[in-house]
């Protein structure tokens, strides 16, 4: 018998926190969740997703200096930092997607974009998740809509290859 997750949005946000911490850890930054808001935003990576009875947008918003310092190779221009912001959003949502598979929820990702500007503020209905590390602060907005037929099951086998791992065919 399948057991359903009673509060799917809360479950997703918990996964998202863990995914964000793990993502930045892989790029050398000890990011931690914090209730304190981040305020300096001049660069955002934004990516949409859709699935059966679910859809939305993930926005990773921070300062270009923080994002530049987490880039695997030092950027030589702003375009490279912007590309990295979009790729981080892509990799964060990719990790979340793989977690959601464990709940029998499948989503498809759009291609990410970066938005740059002074004092960026997102006008969304969702409450952002905030993170901080020795490099600075960032915020993740996760705007999700479910329709009434959406279900998420309790954890089961999902992803067959973990981040950083390989399967040869």
């Amino acid at each position: 018998m399948t057991t359903l997750v009673p509060h799917p949005e809360a479950m997703i946000r918990l996964h998202l926190v863990e995914c964000c911490v793990a993502l930045f850890q892989d790029y050398g930054s000890a990011m931690q969740a914090t209730p304190e808001p981040s305020t300096v935003h001049d660069l955002a990576g934004i990516i949409g997703f859709t699935g059966a009875h679910i859809g939305g947008t993930l926005s990773l918003v921070s300062s270009s200096s923080l994002l530049a310092r987490t880039r695997p190779t030092a950027p030589v221009n702003t375009a490279e930092v912007e590309d990295w912001a979009a790729e981080l959003a892509n990799q964060l949502l990719g990790r979340l997607k793989n977690r959601l598979l464990q709940h029998n929820v499948q989503i498809q990702l759009s291609t990410p974009v970066a938005v740059a500007g002074r004092h960026l503020e997102l006008r969304t209905l969702s409450t952002p998740l905030y993170f901080h590390s020795e490099l600075g602060r960032l915020a993740v907005w996760f705007d999700v809509r479910f329709d009434e037929d959406f279900v998420a099951e309790q954890i089961q086998e999902g992803q067959s290859v973990a981040e950083g791992e390989l399967e040869l065919f």
Partner: protein
């Protein structure tokens, strides 16, 4: 002579990372930004020994690129390694059926990537 690897990813950061890792291991690299660009680069570089390809890209994604390569049947022995954030078994099956030789989930480990590239290019020119 260095074996040539085609890197296909819409992120310049990922292309740069891959190029550095493979370059340090003695591979020559060329780059493409999506599947359409990759098809063109392969046609212009007949000596490509391996392709490392993202899945989620604009214009033509990695699975469509694989399926196009298979349909055209021009390079049936060219090894293609998928490198992506995706870990969905159904997508991996689709890639396998379309001829991919492996699936790696980002972020990649340089040592593992190089070892895989050495293995997959052992029998290619």
């Amino acid at each position: 002579m260095a074996k040539k690897v085609l890197i296909v990813d819409d992120s310049s950061t990922v292309r740069q990372q891959l190029s550095i890792a493979l370059g340090q291991a003695g591979f020559a690299t060329i780059e493409a930004v999506n599947g359409v660009d990759a098809l063109s680069k392969i046609n212009d570089n007949k000596d490509v020994a391996m392709v490392v390809c993202d899945v989620n890209m604009p214009q033509m994604g990695g699975i469509e690129f694989l399926e196009t390569m298979k349909r055209e049947g021009k390079y049936p022995t060219l090894p293609i390694l998928m490198l992506t954030t995706e870990g969905q078994p159904a997508l991996m099956d689709q890639a396998k059926k379309a001829g991919a030789k492996g699936w790696m989930v980002k972020p990649f480990k340089p040592d593992l990537l190089v070892a895989t590239a050495n293995k997959l290019t052992k029998s290619t020119p």
